[in-house]
């Protein structure tokens, strides 16, 4: 590929006249960053401080849409281009493009100690490289509109409540208050994986390749389809798109159209700002299935790209951003759960918010992280996870839309995943 590129470059050099391309100066570090809320501002603030302390290094933050990181970044990386650092969620899938920072870091052990637990989420199987660190940890879990429950006079299910308990309680609220539905889940295979595991599902086959859809997944999928048919689950979220397109139901929850919403901890900042004072809301953890009450962990990681020209400077930036006090400040301002072991153990995070619902909600998620089942814990570091999620979302939503029976959907999921594995087989 490199020789081909060189040849092409040589042949078409004439057309390169008058280009307005920006050339990277030595000492420039480009970060590709996406934001859900205020992270962009916070990180820019932190980087400004870094640049003051390190005058020779110019850090440029490129704020892009999430779609760019999902779709454009992989292509750039394949071409040997791309930023120096990127904030990515599909970490494992692109693992071959990340830089091993170990030779450039002043203190690699710091990273291993504090971020080592999640290092497998971003590095290739069997490697011990340090590619970066998680900017936050997220956990899937539920939110409930406490005010609606109160108005309906329905008691919220407590510890150890099952999915059926929650949906039935929410349905009672729906009937009493006339909301659009009882609950909603984001349209994402990732989101339903926690519940699937709670019913005993295991995606990973004995050989590390994807296993066929098993009883746990089937059971929860059947419930979902039934709930859509009953009008308990908000149809719009899953049915209103095709393929593996992501759709969130956050706005419906904010609008008090659904009493129960299963999403994840990253929503807290957004919910806080959009709901404001309109109603009281709580985090509920993940409802239980027959095999546990598990959510799915995840998050975005900040990783160094292999094709950077400024590895030493990149390492400096990473080290700064991974410092304990910087991580602490980042988490407190963005209302994200930190992934830094030291910060988590010390505790005492002072969330920068006036909303009294935020602190308790985050505490619930922190507590819920102890409930993650082993089958779910192994998913973020599994290469085929995103393929499985995509197939689940695609086919189950077709079943919900009434286009195919669930059995057909399960068969299709298996063939979709098998084809994807076969296609990538040689690489």
């Amino acid at each position: 590929m490199t020789t081909r590129n060189l040849r092409a470059k040589g042949a078409l050099a004439a057309l390169a006249l008058g280009l307005m391309s920006t050339t990277a100066l030595a000492g420039d570090v480009r970060i590709m960053w996406y934001s859900d809320g205020v992270e962009g501002e916070v990180i820019q603030d932190l980087l400004n401080r870094f640049m003051e302390a390190n005058p020779g290094i110019n850090v440029i933050l490129d704020n892009v849409a999430y779609k760019v990181v999902q779709e454009q970044l992989p292509i750039q990386l394949e071409a040997g281009e791309g930023p120096d650092i990127a904030r990515v969620t599909n970490l494992k899938l692109l693992a071959s493009h990340w830089l091993d920072l170990t030779p450039h870091l002043a203190d690699p052990e710091y990273f291993n100690t504090n971020f080592g637990a999640y290092a497998d989420w971003m590095r290739e199987d069997g490697s011990s490289a340090i590619n970066g660190f998680m900017t936050q940890l997220t956990l899937t879990g539920g939110f409930a509109n406490q005010t609606l429950f109160e108005q309906a006079g329905v008691e919220m299910p407590g510890e150890g409540a099952t999915w059926d308990d929650w949906v039935n309680a929410a349905a009672a609220v729906q009937a009493s208050q006339g909301t659009a539905a009882a609950f909603a889940i984001d349209r994402s295979g990732h989101r339903i994986s926690g519940p699937n595991v709670s019913y005993g599902a295991n995606y990973i086959g004995a050989d590390g390749k994807p296993a066929p859809v098993d009883a746990g997944t089937k059971e929860f999928a059947q419930k979902l389809v039934q709930w859509v048919a009953d009008g308990k689950m908000l149809k719009d979220t899953w049915v209103a798109a095709s393929g593996s397109t992501y759709r969130a139901a956050a706005d419906d929850f904010v609008n008090a159209q659904i009493p129960f919403y299963y999403s994840g901890s990253w929503q807290i900042a957004q919910l806080s700002s959009k709901i404001g004072d309109a109603f009281d809301w709580v985090a509920t953890g993940s409802p239980c299935g027959t095999a546990g009450c598990s959510g799915l962990a995840g998050g975005a990681g900040l990783v160094a790209v292999k094709y950077t020209q400024n590895a030493a400077e990149v390492a400096k930036v990473m080290e700064f951003l991974a410092q304990e006090d910087v991580v602490r400040e980042f988490s407190e301002r963005t209302l994200f759960l930190p992934a830094h072991k030291g910060v988590v153990e010390k505790g005492g995070l002072v969330w920068q918010t006036e909303d009294k619902n935020v602190g308790p909600a985050l505490d619930v998620f922190i507590a819920a992280s102890t409930q993650i089942a082993p089958n779910a814990a192994s998913l973020p570091s599994w290469t085929w996870a995103t393929v499985y999620y995509g197939a689940l979302a695609n086919r189950i939503s077709q079943a919900m839309a009434g286009e195919m029976s669930l059995d057909d959907a399960f068969a299709r999921i298996d063939t979709d995943v098998a084809e994807a594995v076969a296609a990538a087989g040689g690489n």
Binding site: N394, E403, E419, N427
Partner: protein, 337 residues
């Protein structure tokens, strides 16, 4: 107004005129050397280079892609598999039932697109013709009305999709209005048939002005004395339309139909933002299928996407040639009369 544009025009064209003068001697030389054919080649060169490099070359690559498999993005790293991708796309035991296909969503996309093309183009042409006829009348403030119908053409497809999604969604403006007058709200974008109708309606809304103007220009080229004669004879408007207007408008109409057909087969931007292919796969169209499979999905397969795009291109070529053939035949018939 004229003075400003005159000055502006002069300022802009002066350096251009100088540049043009400067190149002239060199081009005269070329002309003497190669004659008219050479000059034609010179005039065509810039455009064809861009076409060649940025459209034809990728298309050729696309052919190459369609015969490979694997997840690598660049050709050199992919595996050659001959026509396997095409076979996979067309592997159906029963072409009327997508469930029997290996690539069920491809067949669904094809059927959706076919239905969309037939319905949307017909409605679009009829609406555009009626609008053009109306705008052709002696209206006061004609340029205002022209602007009214042309306005949506100025909007980007993403904006168009967004606006209409807001109006049509379950808690959107339309349902609020309906609830206000006591009607039951309908979940427009979740009911299969309504979502499909919405895709048709929104794309017509976005492109109507463009085709209306082309037809309007054609109508204005029809000599007025033909209409005056018809009026003096007391001919009814219906007959005037079928006997005078339509035949003379036919060439413009043909151009409009060809363009509308090509655009309809390629429908993507507005519909994707509006419905995302949903509900289920009710509004999944070919271009979205290609885009997802090749680019956006979590289970990417660029080779398959390339094969699908070549099939789509093939259909377009056939359709266009058919159109042109029919057009030529009509022209011949008209000349014989």
């Amino acid at each position: 107004m004229p003075r400003v544009s005159e000055i502006a025009g002069a300022v802009v064209t002066a350096p251009l005129a100088w540049a043009a003068q400067a190149i002239d001697p060199a081009l005269r030389f070329w002309q003497r050397l190669t004659g008219q054919g050479g000059m034609a080649a010179f005039f065509l060169l810039p455009n064809m280079t861009v076409f060649g490099l940025f459209v034809i070359l990728p298309l050729i690559f696309n052919f190459a892609y369609s015969m490979t498999s694997g997840t690598a993005l660049f050709l050199a790293d992919r595996e050659f598999v001959g026509l396997a991708q095409f076979q996979r796309l067309l592997d159906c035991s029963d072409f009327t039932d997508p469930a029997t296909c290996q690539e069920d969503q491809f067949l669904i996309a094809v059927r959706n697109t076919a239905l969309f093309v037939v319905l949307q183009v017909t409605l679009l042409i009829v609406t555009a013709t009626i609008t053009a006829l109306i705008l052709n009348r002696e209206l006061r403030g004609r340029s205002f009305w022209r602007a009214v119908f042309f306005f949506p053409v100025l909007l980007s497809p993403v904006v168009v999709g967004l606006i209409w999604r807001w109006i049509l969604q379950r808690d959107g403006l339309l349902n609020a209005g309906m609830a206000g007058v006591g009607l039951e709200p309908i979940n427009w974008l979740i009911e299969r048939n309504w979502a499909f109708a919405a895709a048709i309606g929104v794309t017509i809304w976005a492109h109507l002005g463009f085709y209306t103007l082309i037809l309007l220009a054609g109508l204005q080229a029809i000599p007025k004395d033909l209409y005056e004669a018809a009026e003096m004879d007391g001919t009814r408007p219906g007959r005037v339309f079928w006997r005078i207007t339509l035949p003379l408008l036919m060439p413009n109409l043909l151009v409009v139909i060809v363009l509308a057909l090509i655009r309809a087969v390629q429908v993507f931007d507005e519909a994707f933002v509006l419905t995302g292919g949903g509900p289920g796969t009710a509004t999944l169209f070919l271009t979205q299928y290609i885009y997802e499979v090749g680019f956006a999905s979590l289970l990417k397969n660029p080779g398959l996407a390339a094969a699908a795009s070549i099939l789509m291109g093939g259909v377009l070529v056939v359709l266009t040639l058919l159109q042109l053939a029919i057009g030529k035949r009509n022209e011949k018939r008209a000349k014989l009369k």
